[in-house]
Homo-oligomer: 207 residues x 2
């Protein structure tokens, strides 16, 4: 078990990997950097998530993994995990399914960044995050303050933080969210879902 401060980089792109990170407490993200300097967050992670399952079958990381809050992590040696899976195929299937859910979320993100306007895009990202937090039993959508900064929201949605700020104000004026000292809470869940074009099917949550 290991404690990390907010903003710690756990895995660098190109790094050779020997163990898998399990997020126990706190929040994290995966991101890639373009050569023009732009950072794109490709996923957020919540307690219980495995952050780099792909390293069971890839030996090098193709993206970075960073905490976005203070966090606690467990590191599982890949060799141990591999023999666990060999001995118990059901675990392998469950983990495979996990990585397929990951992929489904990436597809939705491509849609989100590619074909939705700025406000819808941000709203969708918020909806997805709280839907996952709720499904993990961590909190209810309406009683939860989101852990990410406006810069992180910008990097996740392919926008600038300035524009995110303006859109958040607009969402808050419409009553979908409430802001207090930079902390975002969702106070108009139905409305947020509607402006977001959010439907949770792609999360494949049902048992």
């Amino acid at each position: 078990m290991s404690e990390k401060t907010s903003g710690s980089t756990l895995i660098y792109e190109g790094q050779r990997i020997e163990e898998c990170c399990l997020l126990l407490e706190g929040y994290a993200c995966r991101n890639k950097i373009a050569s023009n300097g732009g950072r794109q967050i490709v996923s957020f992670h919540i307690p219980g998530d495995i952050l780099d399952l792909q390293h069971l079958l890839f030996d090098r990381a193709d993206h970075n993994v960073q905490t976005i809050s203070p966090a606690k992590l467990a590191f599982l040696p890949l060799t141990a995990l591999r023999s666990l899976i060999d001995a118990n195929p059901a675990i392998g299937r469950a983990l495979w399914r996990d990585s397929l859910v990951d992929a489904s979320i990436f597809r939705e993100w491509v849609l989100n960044v590619g074909r939705r306007g700025a406000k819808e895009r941000i709203a969708h990202m918020l909806c997805e995050f709280v839907a996952r937090v709720e499904s993990a039993g961590i909190a209810s959508p309406t009683a939860f303050t989101l852990p990410m900064t406006q810069v992180e929201i910008a990097d996740a949605t392919g926008l600038t933080s300035v524009h995110v700020n303006r859109m958040l104000r607009s969402l808050s004026e419409e009553g979908a969210i409430t802001r207090d000292g930079g902390k975002i809470t969702i106070t108009g869940w139905e409305q947020l879902k509607q402006t977001a074009d959010f439907s949770p099917d792609y999360l494949h949550i049902a048992a």
Copy 2:
């Protein structure tokens, strides 16, 4: 085995799935539709690709699958595929790896659509496609005319077809590509890679 015309929809979002599609000849894409009517292509597929591996573990499709050229397909019943994997774990691992490569490509697409300008974005998409075609042994990058239309390029890059047209002209003026009656060939591979910010690591091609 089954033949399809260009533009056939093989799988609809929400559909219940009993078999897996293997693309034998021709090209296909996976896409999602936003409620504002926008279509986002989330991946292109080449001969040899399995188009919906995720249905081994999901019972409903979360996106559409369509041909973008005349195509030949084989359909594998999921039950048969599952018992094949149970009997032969190495096949399962190979397929799992396949789905992880898929996911890695989705991540790169999120970056592409989120953080690159229009021209780089298109160039990157073209680079990826020919890199995959080459790695599959179908053709060499420079001697291959791309199978997709400008509308499809637009839907894959999150742009409009009008803007794609202008950027293609610009790429062709720079000598990176050559166009002839709507057919695109890559005639400046090194230059295209450079404007694209393309590095093939994320394709995890190495054996």
